[in-house]
């Protein structure tokens, strides 16, 4: 039966016919129940990572391909650890320096790896939407996990941020969360915003100069502040974003120093947030650019626990998608 125009809304490509998670591509569009399922599963894995034998056999015999079209150390490593703790075989491919330079297309690369019997593809790509293209072209038993695409989404980072917030703050329904810095180019910010709004956080703030905010960012459900002191007032959670080096001097910002002066998190500015506020950062940090060392290493900082939680969250995501057909 031909579709009749106007073109209808396409169905959510990350859910299977039963509404279960087939791929993890973005937090946007995921129902609350799935987010909670992932966070609960991650919690059950948290114990595993503290045991002496840090392994469960959930993905024994399965192959996880880490497909990194963009360089990454931290995210790739945490995915690798997570897969190994689930007893999967992990194959790391640093494609940024192999086939792409030989001119092979993205889909050809994926088709070749698929012929090597993959079960899960963990994909990072510099182009927004690349994991969607891959997910549309893999076999039905293969799963795609987005490990960061362009400025679009970084759903496992968003989920580990949610996990961290839930761990320290318990109840999402009373929180005020501020996200500070380069929202325009940040996949971390987009994923976190969707997660927070889905889980019922009443107020999400974006604190940045106009040059670092995307058009119509309010439509994502955030309140915009240009003055950091005003924006941090009474916040429970402060999420600092990484500012890429190449964006520090040019049309977006005059200098790293001036950015730090206006939007760098110092103890002095943090004092405006709630007394028990937590400070988060997706890493890697630019000390002295977006965050002062005293704050990064201070009592409010939960930046290192975020990394630890990241492993449990990635175990949860991999075990859930691999279990769905």
């Amino acid at each position: 039966m031909p579709r009749s125009s106007p073109r209808g809304a396409p169905c959510n490509p990350q859910l299977n016919a039963k509404g279960e998670l087939q791929h993890l591509l973005s937090i946007e569009g995921l129902p609350r129940e799935i987010l909670v399922q992932i966070l609960d599963t991650a919690e059950s894995f948290a114990g595993v990572t503290e045991r002496e034998v840090k392994k469960v056999p959930l993905l024994r015999g399965k192959s996880v391909f880490n497909l990194f079209f963009e360089p990454s150390t931290r995210t790739r490593t945490t995915f690798e650890i997570a897969a190994k703790r689930l007893s999967a075989d992990v194959i790391n491919l640093n494609i940024a320096v192999s086939s792409q330079t030989k001119g092979e297309s993205l889909l050809d690369t994926v088709a070749n790896l698929s012929a090597m019997q993959a079960d899960v593809f963990v994909v990072r790509h510099s182009s927004s939407g690349a994991p969607y293209l891959i997910a549309r072209n893999v076999k039905p038993h293969e799963h795609v996990i987005n490990a960061g695409d362009g400025r679009h989404a970084h759903p496992t980072q968003g989920l580990l941020d949610l996990y961290t917030i839930r761990y320290y703050k318990k109840d999402f329904s009373k929180l005020r969360v501020a996200i500070v810095g380069d929202v325009l180019h940040s996949r971390v910010a987009r994923s976190l915003v969707h997660g927070l709004t889905t889980l019922g956080v009443p107020e999400v703030r974006a604190i940045a100069p106009q040059t670092l905010l995307p058009a119509g960012v309010q439509a994502l459900g955030v309140h915009v502040f240009h003055d950091m002191r005003e924006g941090l007032k009474d916040c429970d959670v402060v999420v600092m974003l990484r500012l890429q080096n190449e964006r520090m001097n040019g049309a977006l910002l005059p200098s790293a120093q001036e950015f730090f002066k206006n939007y760098g998190l110092t103890a002095d500015k943090l004092a405006l947030a709630k007394k028990d506020a937590i400070v988060m950062h997706p890493g890697p940090m630019n000390r002295g650019v977006e965050i002062d060392s005293a704050v990064a290493d201070g009592a409010h900082s939960v930046i290192l626990p975020q990394v630890t939680f990241g492993i449990a969250v990635r175990m949860a995501v991999m075990s859930i998608v691999a279990g769905n057909r």
């Binding site: 031909p2 579709r3 009749s4 125009s5 106007p6 073109r7 809304a9 396409p10 490509p13 946007e28 297309s105 993205l106 889909l107 790509h125 182009s127 927004s128 939407g129 690349a130 969607y132 293209l133 072209n137 695409d149 362009g150 400025r151 679009h152 989404a153 996949r187 987009r190 995307p214 058009a215 119509g216 960012v217 439509a219 994502l220």
Partner: protein, 420 residues
């Protein structure tokens, strides 16, 4: 007399005629009724007989990009879509900046014997925006206008000089209003959808800032300028005002833009990667209304065949463009029906109006006019599939959709060039 088209609903948008009757053709032209026995008769009962479509923007991809499409495939696609005249933008490889290339294109098109082809020459050498082309020589070779296709001139002084020079000799200039500095990194309308999808945006004022500059230069130079592919509501408003001011300007819109908006990007649908980008629903509605009230003179296919590999890419990397020659008629009908327009008025936007912009005698049905005709069924369903399209480019946002409007026969200069 050589041919008779009998019993069809004859629609001539130029004169407003819309009645059942016969069309007589002799020696390649529409003729007065006569008692003479025709050599051939086409039974058009239950069908519409109208002037063939005139498409002001159809890329044939020759020379240089034969892997995307060939002159042969696209010329067949044109007449299958009822298009009997088409203008091709100069963005071939190499661009149409030398008379030899223009001449070759015209001769190859003529040899194929399908639609009439009107090359649009490059306004600047290699479309680089740095040096004027030899417009007189190009015009002699057959260029009907001069254009930068989708490559804006960044240097305003260069644009001014180009318009002055073209105006001196009365050459029409076809320009897309786009500020190069604002558009260079973007691939989607700078709005809610690009923000959600994490795509670099092209703000709407990319178009209006350039359009404002161009309108000032039209005032200063008196150049005849046709604005290609308007995409924003604000630009429609600016053209409306400049027409009121009696500036010598006309404009067109891509037929997809009166149907689609940024929302159609869905989950990175590269079929909707177009240049200019699909904009907001408000912009789309303003374009559809502007085309109806005549602010926008005509609709074009902006035909751009792209091979599958170049669409099977992440959105920002995918090549922009959609195939359109075979969808111009059904999509124009769909637009007209949605607005409740009489068929004659709908067809004017793809026949008599583009003929006026192009300055050719086709696009009407009165005796003496070239016998370029399309016979079609406006209600017959047409399922848009790769197999159904003659164009080598199968790239369309409407792939898989059913549209109404099926071409039965196409005639160019009285000769049947397509029949189904």
């Amino acid at each position: 007399m050589s041919l008779l088209i009998k019993g069809g609903r004859v629609i001539d948008p130029a004169s407003g005629r819309d009645a059942v009757g016969d069309v007589f053709i002799s020696e390649g032209f529409i003729a007065n009724p006569t008692k003479e026995r025709p050599k051939k008769t086409i039974d058009a009962r239950g069908l519409v007989v109208a002037p063939g479509l005139i498409d002001l923007a159809a890329r044939l991809r020759e020379p240089g990009e034969e892997y995307k499409a060939t002159l042969a495939s696209e010329m067949d696609a044109a007449v299958a879509g009822g298009v009997t005249s088409l203008a091709c933008p100069p963005d071939t490889h190499p661009p149409l900046d030398e008379p030899g290339l223009v001449d070759m294109l015209r001769r190859r098109a003529k040899a194929r014997g399908r639609a009439r082809v009107y090359p649009v020459g490059a306004l600047t050498v290699k479309l680089a925006g740095e040096r004027l082309t030899e417009m007189a020589v190009l015009a002699e070779a057959g260029c009907v206008a001069f254009s930068q296709a989708n490559q804006p001139i960044a240097d305003t002084r260069m644009l001014w000089r180009a318009l002055q020079y073209a105006a001196t000799f009365g050459y029409p200039v076809w320009l897309r209003a786009e500020d190069k500095w604002l558009s260079q990194e973007g691939c989607a309308h700078d709005g809610d959808m690009a923000t959600r999808l994490g795509l670099a945006g092209v703000p709407p004022f990319t178009e209006t800032i350039a359009l404002g500059t161009m309108l000032q230069l039209v005032r200063a130079t008196g150049a005849r300028v046709h604005f290609c592919r308007l995409s924003t509501a604000a630009a429609v408003e600016m053209v409306r005002a400049s027409k009121k001011e009696k500036l010598p300007v006309t404009c067109d819109v891509g037929i997809y833009y009166v149907h689609l908006s940024e929302m159609d990007l869905g989950y990175y649908d590269t079929q909707c990667r177009l240049d200019p980008p699909l904009r907001s629903q408000r912009d789309r509605d303003a374009l559809a209304a502007g085309l109806a009230d005549g602010t926008i003179d005509c609709a074009v296919s902006d035909h751009a065949p792209v091979d599958k590999d170049r669409k099977q890419m992440p959105f920002a990397e995918a090549e922009s463009g959609a195939t359109g020659l075979e969808l111009l008629l059904p999509l124009a009908l769909k637009w007209g029906e949605a607005r409740g327009l009489p068929l004659a008025k709908t067809l004017a936007r793809v026949t008599s109006e583009p003929a006026r912009v192009l300055g050719v005698p086709a696009g009407r049905l009165e005796p003496g006019a070239p016998a370029d005709l399309v016979v079609f069924d406006p209600k017959a369903p047409f399922l848009v599939t790769a197999a159904a399209l003659k164009s080598q480019g199968k790239n369309s946002p409407f792939l898989g959709y059913e549209l109404a409007g099926r071409v039965h026969a196409t005639l160019v200069a009285g000769r049947v060039v397509h029949e189904q």
